[in-house]
Amino acid sequence: MAKKVAFLQGNEAAAQGALYAGCKFFAGYPITPSTEVAEVMSVELPKVGGKFIQMEDEIGAMAALIGGSLAGSKALTSTSGPGLSLKQELIGYACIAEVPCVIVNVMRGGPSTGMPTGPSQSDIMSAKWGTHGDHPAICLVPASVQELYEETIRAFNLAEKYRTPVMIMPDEIVAHMRERIVFAEPGEIEVIDRTAPTVEPSKYKPYDTSFGDVPPLAAFGSGYKFHVTGLNKLPDGFPTTKAEYVQAEEERQVRKVEGNAADIMKWEEYLCDDADIIVVAFGSTSRSARFAVDEARKQGIKAGLFRLITFWPFPEARLLELSKKAKGFITPEMNLGMSHGVVKAAVEGNAPVLGIFRVDGEPINPGQIIDKMKEVK
């Protein structure tokens, strides 16, 4: 039987990916340019017995999301820049309380209201450092409608597997473009559910590390009684200020992501093996970069593309390896140098890193990237 295909918008594909992953709960607040995710979920969730709620504000949406997840539902929200800033308070809560959930953040111009309908890639640092304190961060940056669909499924899998919030951040171009998409058949892509406890309810501790860095999570209403707090906590979930527990807990929460980076990181290397110049790009910018690499090769420039699909954790070790042979790196991005700094740190001075930064609401075109390649000495 032929697979189901459609001509779909990026945001619609994200919603379809969430449904494939078994999402049963959506809480959101309208914000351009992400609203179509909420609209599709409002149509589709009740059909599968799921719940959609439009909350009173962005913070309330993030709160309801965590509540829904704790009650056992796979949970999604969607937002954009200013909404992400508001959600940061409770993204931190989801990190410390270790509640799986997925946040689609469509990147638009900022700061503040900025350019609501303009594309941007300037939220990637917010994904890692937006909420206060040390915490794990997973951020995915798809570049096509198909990839947004598949990466949303993966975002749910990572959230459930590691008991942590996962951000998926298409830029506005990827979120609003329409492309052909091939839907996965049921069972074709693995769907991961959180590990439920097997101990009897009276023995259950929500942060029992004897089960490893990711303890099983029970659902409220499933027969297990337990306590959840945003305070630093003991394995039984109750607050503590004891130094040895707090240190160990914080380290474990970060380690469960950083220590599993190999499982979480995903990137694509295109003509990088013999490349003198490597363009490090993500999202819609990586599509211009691929075109630029092909054009450059025609002109005799040995160019390659390192396309980030996971932004956090960042694949610094691989870039360091590549930097031993490459003569230079180029980081085109719709912000004022956010990935530039991260790539520079990764390559440890082995090769120059040249940036192309645009925040005028226009995409970076291949010509700009080819011109920059010619500046590499």
């Binding site: 719940k51 309330g60 709160a63 829904g68 949970a75 209403g221 009684k225």
Partner: protein, 272 residues
Amino acid sequence: MSFDYDKYIRPGKLPHIWCPGCGHGIVMKGLIRAIDACGLKKEETAIVSGIGCASRLPGYMDCCTLHTAHGRAAAFATGVKMARPEMNVILVGGDGDGTAIGGNHFIHACRRNINMTYIILNNKIYGMTGGQFSPATPTGAKASTTPYGNPDPAFDIAKLAIGAGATFVARGTAFHANQIDKLITEAIQHKGFSVVEILDDCPTTYGRRNKFKSVVEMMNHLKDIAVPVKAAEKMSPEQLQGKVLTGVLHKEEKPEYTEQYAQVIERAQAAK
């Protein structure tokens, strides 16, 4: 036989953090008696709070307990209730948590009429942070941030809840301990969003700044200002000056939110 509170208290979690003379413990005992009277199963009951002294209450309760962020209890609880409408969901928090930083979530939970019970322990002050004025602090009162007297007018929390659409609103006081469980019981049994405001005392950060010489004086004050709704009907406006109505202040039947959403599911599935 005396009532067995231990059945509902988490083993090993007492003593509580509240100061001597604080009324929060009286309210917790009332809540426990109400949960018992309603026959709620502990593992099917979620108690959700925000941040502050009152919000520490869920930690002592042997239920599914969710201590959230400042002001966010109603929104977290809405998520729990939507995902699992069969759960009993009870919210507990203070006046600052619920009506200042959590004000938006509070009024919208009232508007939706989602079947949960919100117990607001109103001691008119931010106690945990040391006694700053809240939206419930009376005009003229002293707080650590109103050293010259509070210039702000106060919310009438019960009126706010009624105005926002809550379908059951009651008020009691920490002095009238035997009424608390009755009000909460009726609130839990009501289908819809119910609010029970309990006027409470904070001797540590409010009383000592506002010329209350003792906890007894604060409790007597609660006793003096409280007028049952029925008794108030026979009193003149002059007699009601400085008084506060207690009992069930408002009750009406309106469609409940999770039931409304169940109909959304039916309509969506019929259209499929």
